[in-house]
């Protein structure tokens, strides 16, 4: 039987309190805050982070296929699977495909996974609502990831699943639209409710299951209230409804249902039954049962871990700048040139997977890869050496007010890895007053910048705060 072997999540560090949007425009807003991708994040970088969280304690080379689900890919033409596969150090012949456009592509990707293989599913979204609109308040950014397969390590069995297609134009963004458009909300919520009644009740009957036997129902529907109406219509009590994270994260597009599922699994016990219902032009429905193996799952950050570590003082003006919604004076420095494609090509393995070299003669790890050892000067005696996941400390640092950065001052640190090796890199998700010599940091996958339409991905350091350490 197909099941989930492991899960992970990612929520960006920066949170925008919705009232700040209201204060800017002089209008009332929803309560709570939304997670917003930093200027150096997008659906690919957040997806990689969620997958790294998912793959804690597993061998990434065992993965046969990777499915990346997003409605906010960095390119309309050029895939992201190869970027993700390199960043996660997956085997070269891993299969992959992108599930795009649909807001339920995350759950559809889980359903598409072949149970005889190990499939990594990544659902990630970074949608931008038009300023002053409801979507702007409503949308949040985030990602979730699952390792799907079978065997004794499965923590959640997929007991049964069903998909239905129900064509509907209620929420859309065309090839040329910058922002999501919506039909009158009543249309979406009415059709959704109808589909849930028609599909979920017979699905539960078929599985000899009733609503009261389900511990948590995970519903990602249209708007703010449709999920509770739907749950109630098919017999669920309020305490069975999984928190949709609206007040803390926002509606994360195709990653919404997957992130709620991660949230549910963080509190699930062996034997628990979960029902997942994801809506967008039809439904994906899954009945899940938690196994004993969940108690053996290695500790991870997950939704809970990332929720606790945040900067909830993000300003609305920063958010506008990071999303390119506010045209500002360019820095008085030369423009960032597009990276050289041949140089990128030569460096993909090194730069995306953050793999340096380690000298066979003297054992010194070094990044970037060197042919002549920095320590003993022996030539071409290097083994690949990956720095991802290694603990490191800030040796010295600077706050660069002169460098062109979307979030000045640019924090640059000399980072020494505890097991050897050094890199000089940017520090992200860090307040200038926080940085200090000796600070514990870890590497995080980021989009450094976009220039000439090319998204350049690499790694930065971020502080390890006590609350999130795993």
């Amino acid at each position: 039987m197909k099941g989930i072997i492991s899960y992970g999540a990612y929520i960006p560090y920066n949170r925008l309190q919705r009232k700040k949007i209201g204060e800017f425009f002089g209008k009332s807003t929803y309560s709570g805050e939304k997670a917003v991708a930093g200027y150096d994040e997008d659906s690919v970088s957040m997806g990689v982070e969620a997958a790294l969280d998912c793959l804690r304690g597993t061998d990434s080379k065992e993965i046969d296929a990777v499915y990346f689900a997003t409605t906010s890919a960095p390119y309309k033409e050029k895939g992201s699977i190869s970027t993700i596969a390199a960043a996660l150090h997956l085997k070269e012949n891993v299969r992959g495909i992108e599930a795009a456009s649909s807001l339920r592509s995350g759950t559809s990707a889980i359903l598409a996974a072949n149970e005889l293989e190990q499939t990594l599913v990544i659902a990630s979204d970074c949608r931008t609502g038009a300023p002053t609109g409801q979507n702007e308040q409503w949308f949040g950014d985030g990602a979730a990831s699952f390792l799907i397969g079978q065997g004794p390590e499965v923590i959640v069995n997929v007991i049964d699943a069903v998909s239905v297609q129900g064509e509907l134009v209620s929420e859309w963004r065309s090839q040329t639209d910058s922002f999501t458009q919506n039909w009158e909300e009543r249309l979406g919520s009415t059709v959704f409710l109808k589909q849930v009644k028609e599909v979920v009740t017979p699905f539960l009957e078929k599985n000899n299951c009733t609503a009261d036997a389900i511990n948590k129902v995970i519903i990602s529907g249209p708007g703010t209230r449709a999920h509770t109406q739907a749950a109630s219509a098919i017999g669920f009590q309020k305490n069975q409804i999984q928190d949709p994270l609206f007040d803390l994260v926002g509606a994360t597009g195709n990653a919404h249902a997957p992130m709620m599922l991660v949230s549910a699994l963080e509190e699930a016990k062996p034997g628990d039954q979960l029902l997942v219902v994801a809506f967008a032009e039809g439904l994906d429905v899954m009945l899940l049962e938690v196994t004993e193996a969940i108690s053996r799952l290695a500790k991870r950050k997950g939704v809970q871990g990332y929720l606790t570590v945040k900067n909830d003082q993000t300003s609305y003006s920063d958010y506008l700048k990071w999303r390119n919604l506010l045209e500002t004076e360019p820095p008085r420095r030369p423009e960032t040139e597009r990276p050289s494609a041949p140089a990128l090509y030569r460096g993909y393995h090194q730069n995306l997977s953050f793999t340096g070299s380690k000298c066979r003669n003297c054992g010194t790890p070094q990044f970037p890869k060197q042919r002549i050892c920095t320590q003993c000067q022996v030539k071409d005696e290097m083994d690949d050496y990956r720095f991802v996941g290694q603990s490191a400390k800030v040796m010295t640092y600077t706050l660069d007010h002169l460098a062109a950065s979307p979030a000045p001052p640019m924090i640059v640190a000399v980072v020494d890895f505890d097991k050897g090796g050094r890199i000089i890199c940017e520090v992200t998700d860090c307040h200038p007053k926080e940085i200090e010599i000796g600070m514990n940091v870890e590497m995080t996958f980021r989009r450094l910048y976009e220039a000439g339409g090319i998204s350049n991905y690499f790694w930065k350091a971020r502080p390890i705060r006590q609350k999130e350490s795993v």
């Binding site: 010295t396 660069d400 062109a404 350049n456």
Partner: protein, 394 residues
């Protein structure tokens, strides 16, 4: 690393230096002509006497024709050299070696840079096409790494560290206030330096050298010919350059309180010049004060101060005009700005003036041995140049 050297084999018989400034009304060509013709006049020679030339410039022109065009030299060899911030010194070094080899009798070393035409403040050097993953931090940021590391290692409080850095900048501005060719010719109060706006914390704008346009030139002959031109030439005792392997980027044992390229290049120069105790034997030095912590680390790397003691020497005034070993008597990069290709030759120009007693209000009392030093690159990886020059033959 030089094993034999060319101590006392060549001499400088003429020098010229433009004022370093924001020369909105002068081109690269103008600056080259002004510096070269001042040097020709100083040496008492005709332009046509020059047999070969070395032009140092980092970003203001390519090839020897950058010089031969404006000067209308008549088909003599001109070599354009570049070694980042040591570019001017590198032009001088190559010119000296060519004369010492016997290939030429009289040559010109000249450096120029026009930084103010770029439209940006600071130095913006073009980079070869690359993968764009290296953090694009500024020059002051790379040198600001030195300050917290030094303070931490030697137990200075932030306030103590601040005072030391400010004192270095204050000293250089004071010296520059006495120099008509400096970009900035005013004293700057300690308070203003300490509270200047942050550029790359903990460095403020007043911890940074200025940005200027300028050119400087030297005429070099063999020592035996020098007295044909003047009674008081400047003798070259040692020339040394060390290019680093990049330890600072790769190795944890690089702790940002010392730059090995400085240590190696200065020790090589001391060997070549026969200097055993630099603090005692050297009368004056022009060092690469691109940012205040750079000068602090240089004191220790060049053996002017014991390790961990440089900051105390600063506070005791050791390196001030009236101190035991005046450093940057002309005002340094701090007062002159740093037109890359010209700076190394500008430093030698101050040595030359001081030996000849032409340094005006900042004239030192009969200096005999001088040192110039440049550092091109970052603390993590650089080229470091050291010259020893003298008033007399050894």
């Amino acid at each position: 690393m030089s094993r034999k050297g060319i101590s006392d084999k060549v001499a400088v018989i003429g020098m010229g230096c433009t004022r370093f400034a924001e020369h909105w009304d002068k081109s690269v060509d103008d600056l080259l002509v002004d510096a070269a013709y001042e040097a020709f006049a100083d040496a008492g020679i005709e332009p046509a006497d020059i047999e070969a030339a070395w032009l140092g410039t980092m970003i203001s022109g390519y090839a020897g024709i950058t010089l031969s065009g404006p000067l209308k030299t008549q088909f003599i060899p001109v070599t354009r050299v570049e070694n980042m911030c040591a570019t001017g010194s590198e032009a001088f070094r190559n010119a000296c070696y060519a004369v010492a080899s016997g290939a030429y009798d009289i040559v010109l070393a000249i450096g120029v840079e026009k930084l103010k035409d770029s439209g940006f403040s600071g130095l913006n050097s073009p980079k070869p096409p690359n993968d764009g993953t290296a953090p694009n931090f500024s020059a002051p940021a790379s040198f600001s790494f030195l300050a917290p590391a030094y303070f931490e290692k030697y137990g200075l409080s932030t306030e103590q560290g601040r005072e030391v850095l400010s004192r270095i900048a204050w000293k250089n501005h004071y010296n520059g206030s006495l120099n008509p060719k400096a970009q900035y010719r005013n004293e700057v109060p300690m308070e203003k330096i300490s509270k200047s706006p942050m550029v790359a914390a903990p460095l403020g704008i007043m911890d940074c050298s200025g940005v200027a346009d300028g050119a400087a030139a030297a005429i070099i002959v063999r020592t035996e010919d020098a007295h044909k031109y003047r009674k008081d030439p400047m003798y070259v005792k040692a020339l040394s350059i060390a290019a680093g392997p990049g330890d600072g980027r790769l190795r944890q044992d690089f702790d940002f309180t010392s730059i090995k390229e400085n240590v190696v290049s200065s020790q090589a120069a001391y060997r070549e010049a026969g200097i055993k105790d630099p603090r005692k034997e050297i009368s004056m030095a022009e060092v690469h004060d691109c940012f205040t912590p750079t000068e602090l680390v240089i004191y220790e790397d060049l053996g002017f101060s014991e390790r961990g003691q440089g900051w105390k020497d600063v506070l005791n005034g050791v390196f001030e005009l009236g101190g035991e070993l005046p450093v940057n008597p002309d005002g340094g990069l701090k007062s002159f700005g740093h037109p890359i290709g010209a700076s190394g030759l500008r430093m030698l120009y101050e040595m030359y003036l001081q030996f000849q007693g032409r340094a005006g209000k900042r004239q030192l009392d009969n200096p005999k041995i001088g040192l110039t030093h440049n550092l091109g690159g970052t603390p993590m990886q650089c080229v470091s140049f050291v010259s020893i020059v003298g008033k007399e033959l050894s």
